[in-house]
Chain length 390, copies 2
Amino acid sequence: MTQSTIRLGIIGHGAQGGNYSSFLSQGRVSNTTLAAICDVDEGKRAKADEYGVPFFSEYLELLDSGVVDAVVTTVPHYLHPEVTMAALDRGVHVLVEKPAGVYTKQVRQLLDHAASKPELTTAIMFNQRTNPLYQDLRELVQSGELGKLRHTNWIITTWWRPQGYYDQSEWRATWGGEGGGVLVNQAPHQLDLWQWICGVPKSVFAKLAFGFRRDIAVEDEVTAVVDFGEGATGTFITCTHDLPGTDRLEILLDGGKIVVDKSNTVTVTRLSAPEQELSKSMDMSDVMRIFSGGADTSTLMSTTSKTYDSSWGDQHPTVIENFSANILDGTPLIAPVEDGMHGVRLANAIHLSGWTGAEVSIENFDEDRYLAELNRRIADEGKFDVRTEN
Amino acid sequence: MTQSTIRLGIIGHGAQGGNYSSFLSQGRVSNTTLAAICDVDEGKRAKADEYGVPFFSEYLELLDSGVVDAVVTTVPHYLHPEVTMAALDRGVHVLVEKPAGVYTKQVRQLLDHAASKPELTTAIMFNQRTNPLYQDLRELVQSGELGKLRHTNWIITTWWRPQGYYDQSEWRATWGGEGGGVLVNQAPHQLDLWQWICGVPKSVFAKLAFGFRRDIAVEDEVTAVVDFGEGATGTFITCTHDLPGTDRLEILLDGGKIVVDKSNTVTVTRLSAPEQELSKSMDMSDVMRIFSGGADTSTLMSTTSKTYDSSWGDQHPTVIENFSANILDGTPLIAPVEDGMHGVRLANAIHLSGWTGAEVSIENFDEDRYLAELNRRIADEGKFDVRTEN
């Protein structure tokens, strides 16, 4: 490809789409230009006029117009697969907004479709992967320097949302319109990062509370325990009703421990040898000395701490730039669309465990049962049509 | 009772019993004197001679001797009920070492027996309840000032034990000799404190790893999620293989949040009104202002922090003094023996969930099934006799 910039269309000009058109129109993504805006709300035409780009109220017209090389799907989660597949069918590259879909069956269809179009780029907006903190953390864990995982615990409750947020529109926080609560809307970032860093768990058991402290149908409180196999486990706590909020990730490995506070400070304790080796050479008198402060623990472990600057404002432009660079010159993607499956499957499995009260396999996830249970809730709700397979 | 001091006998002069006889012989408990030592190991007679108190190798002889008013049961956990009941039958008051027993059926027998002897004092050594930090914390939560519980998470992995600790004796970390691992030996303190502060959960699901990073038969790694009812949940993580160790307790309530770090620093965030009321009066623009730092959050919440001095060395003497005071003048007990049931039942339920892979009711705990499953493990191990009911 000899062109040097990608013409990007925005499908869905709500809060997130509006954010993208704003920074694109300011020229903040060097290899990408804002080329068109699409929204079912005609009222958004004024914004397109302001930016001097064509407006479409029908996304297929935008895709057929020839004015874009690529689109980003800032539409309600359920529509991500449908819009993505239509774009790919027309030779248009797609940056899929997270989550890739609401349930694994529709995400699988999206992925199969994308795989059948290898000449097109399909990526997903996991903007938090561009955070240097999480990139360093993944590198540290995946390098194996600290050995195998023992357990990991993430309390991520900094997703406070007031009742007014849920009352903004009819589809929000419904089974039929949004497909879930904090697991589908807010926590997908951490559901991705956690698995990106620590690996994909094999099963999950979860306690969910639906409309716990908000007047909504879906979950605003989640406590999940996952099994990574070979005795390694994890817990994931999230909610939208914790105003002070906690963001604390701990990872215990054979060779040390990592604690990330507030997504900005990483404290790494490195043991001088794998913990089991240290264990074999010590007895209870050593324990008494260590815990009474009478031993020099610097021979056993050392701790370093690093605080990262916030990278928040640059994350979305960086993902769009990377997406366009992949189209232009094959630069490896930060988040290929296939990676979108993990977060949706874990969120689905957490839902299914919460609904059934039983542990749920992630390795052999029963996606038919999930869709049937989801549809039962959509039908009971009575506001939206039940979902067919896609 | 007109006497002013209690003559205390120590049954079982191992590490803990030796600690008690040491500080009692130093006169550190004003209302209690060391009156006798009992151990199956004749080698401990020298210590009794040193302290100038009678030595018994048979605990029934000590109980019948008339030289003690009360005893403390620093014997292997399985024996606590048997020794306690024999003492009560002889009119001797008992301070039961924690845990009250290994399984709920034997603890129930102990409690029934104690209840039939209301004229005698039966208490349990929950020494950490004397820690002013946990007393203040319980008062704060139980007072209702911060409203109802939403969730609570305790990572308590400061119980590091090397392989040499487990290799000290044959009974340690076996099903037949000890009845479990970290849940039975180290974590009972926190299993008690957690329920004392936050309430008794209704059910539990747990992932346990047995001999995970130690060469033992029992659990050295525990991840449990509990359900307190009405959507409130908790997680409890403990292990004996985390050398740096974490001790972090978080409690989220309707009116604020409490975080306890390292069992010495308590940070309390109080909301200016119950969170649901604040939620109802705010919308997404408030959220953006708060999280971008553009709002004055002091009108929404205030945070205080307090660091406590270590009370470690005084805890056990304080419990013994309280126990003796209860005998002498009816001073209310810090930990009546009935309170010993909660921790044993929760530990049993965590075991049973880990063994069966299913959520286990605590409210209607199936103690017959627990004992059957425990006995199956004792039989497979082949080192000790299976347990009858007591």
